[in-house]
Point group: C2
Chain length 344, copies 2
DNA sequence: GGTCGGCGTTGAAATGTTTCATCGGCGTGT
DNA sequence: ACACGCCGATGAAACATTTCAACGCCGACC
């Protein structure tokens, strides 16, 4: 039965007593083949357990049926939500999605991109380590559609989908100021990450515009956007003398915020009374924290979905124009900044 | 410059003044070609920006350079940790990893598997909706190595890697009993998920063995393993009259536990004094919860890594024997069950 | 000086699918 | 009765790579 290799179109053709062109027609344009033979062919396929060889199809067609998403940090649920959005769009277009993870390392990213080029994927979506990196431009030069996700690309040379991170930083800190905080910590890093730079920048902007003294906005740098780094930042925060210590913190993402929250509560702080916290991204775990986290929401799935649509447009529409989509972030206020009436 | 299609081996051969067989040799067995010509070919490749066409390679070679992981629930970080483990092993073997997500739906799973067969992937790792489903056996029958992850396959027909879920349920509830709890809730569902069935089963087993009355082990069914369902279970728990209400809960996974924890704290319960909670999986967010969560740890990455090794063995080793790997889960006790001395 | 062996290179075959020009047969209209 | 047109099926070419038997050349050995 199993003679080792799987049956090919030729085998099906022989078994059904037709030419192999006809078998191909049954698969690709069933309407041109008469119902009788079509059924005969289909039966033969089922009998032999025929499975179309995608490499051969792709070789001849010159184009694959896959998109790829290279994400920046697989341990951050935010990127999985983005990926989910992409997947939905890919599904609609009947494409497969290849998910890679650079883990923030440029060399891994380059390896992935190289492989994807070899696979001749239809398009690449990427949240890059560095949007200016030469291997990104390389992809575009090869004629493979590429869309930068959650960053804006270099000089409009490609499409991109992002939220306005500066604005996000502004609304976060503005919210804290509205709650009456006059000493605020900004937690985030490393500064090599563009998103971090811009969110911090937004915080500084609005702080200045509100006329608050720059010295009262404390920057606490971190070496990564992780829960552990959030905890560590919390310890540093606790080390500041009480009278100068910030009463609120804006974290560059939710993982940091969760770590900070955990450390604070563990140290006996009341949140938000002793320390108010704002995160960024609004991942699902933000709302699920024991003190639900106020966060700057990014439309995570929508980000992915529209990025996928852009890449598909570039792949199929000859008069495609590159565009930079920018979504507006939105503050979701929860208990970590807004004290609720306490049950007394 | 860009004449539309990317350069092929033939173009490189012409440019370097050698035959196309030689170019292939430069790529696949550099040692047989003389250093001089090799360098000439390599220069030509770089000049033309040659990128090997993977479909053609694959068509001729008959085998691809990719593994695939079909995960059960993309919104559960547990599976991403498993995927990470697989990715590490794949990287070592110089393979790409295709990540798919069935989202718990058998039809999506079947679609993914079909596509993967078309791609002639080297092997499939899967956490199936139903390990008995016919489309799983189909893969194996085609000669594609397949490994069941986090479940045991049907009748030893394929390799599998899992933890002993029954044992996990036992140690969780045993731990609660040791803490002096005599009324315990078991939270989880739907029962169509095998992991849930076994964890609950383990809980019941140990409860009986400890000689505790079956009526004091309350089963709270949920419709999914999500944070939201955990909250909802918390509300139902709160609705039980205080004198019969369980003082501890064992949740079938950490997402449920986090939801339950959040709901409990929001309702003013002290954890663990009023309600102790044990989760399952020990995802990173478990330790990061405001009250760090006691959980039954699965070796997440290790699960993925060894599954990948099994699939590779099946793919390359002719005398491969199917095996069912079973890891031992381990209780990680944290503050959600063990009260720490309170700062007074 | 002729033969042998080995190294480096060659060219053709093979992989499985799609596409497209072509062909055969049949019905219709004149 | 003949030509025309149409529908359905055919078979060969093309896609880019790998593999392998064969070949030419050179030095060494007898």
């Amino acid at each position: 039965m199993a003679n080792g290799r799987s049956p090919s179109v030729k085998d099906v053709a022989a078994s059904a007593g037709v030419s192999l062109g006809t078998v191909s027609n049954v698969m690709n344009r069933p309407e041109v083949v008469s119902p009788a033979t079509r059924e005969r062919v289909e039966r033969a396929m089922a009998e032999l357990g025929f499975v179309r060889n995608e490499s051969a199809r792709q070789l001849r067609a010159g184009t694959s049926r896959t998109l790829a998403y290279v994400m920046l940090d697989g341990s951050n649920p935010f990127f999985h939500d983005v990926a989910q959005g992409i997947e939905l769009a890919a599904e609609d277009a009947d494409l497969s999605l290849f998910i890679c993870n650079s883990n923030g390392r440029a060399d891994r990213e380059a390896v992935h991109l190289d492989r994807l080029m070899q696979q001749r994927v239809q398009g690449v979506l990427i949240t890059p380590v560095d949007p200016e990196a030469p291997h990104l431009a390389e992809i575009g030069r090869r004629g493979i559609p590429i869309v930068i996700v959650d960053r804006v690309g270099a000089g409009g040379a490609s499409c991109s989908v992002a939220v306005d991170d500066v604005l996000g930083g502004r609304i976060a800190v503005e919210h804290l100021a509205e709650q009456g905080h006059t000493r605020v910590a900004v937690v985030g890093g490393p500064e090599s990450i563009g998103q971090v730079r811009e969110r911090v920048e937004g915080a500084r902007q609005i702080w200045a515009e509100l006329g608050l003294p720059p010295g009262d906005l404390t920057y606490l740098p971190t070496s990564a956007l992780t829960v552990a780094e959030g905890r560590s930042a919390g310890e540093r925060l606790a080390g500041i003398p009480a009278r100068r210590r910030p009463t609120a913190a804006f974290c560059a993402n939710d993982l940091l915020a969760l770590g900070l929250l955990q450390q604070g509560i563990g140290a006996g702080l009341r949140v938000p009374e002793d320390l108010a916290i704002v995160g960024f991204d609004d991942i699902e775990f933000a709302a699920a924290a024991a003190v639900p986290l106020t966060s700057v929401r990014q439309p995570r799935q929508e980000l992915g979905r529209s990025a996928a649509q852009l890449v598909l447009d570039e792949a199929t529409n000859p008069e495609h124009r590159h565009q930079q989509l920018s979504f507006v972030p939105e503050l979701v206020a929860r208990a970590s900044t807004v004290a609720r009436p306490r049950p007394h």
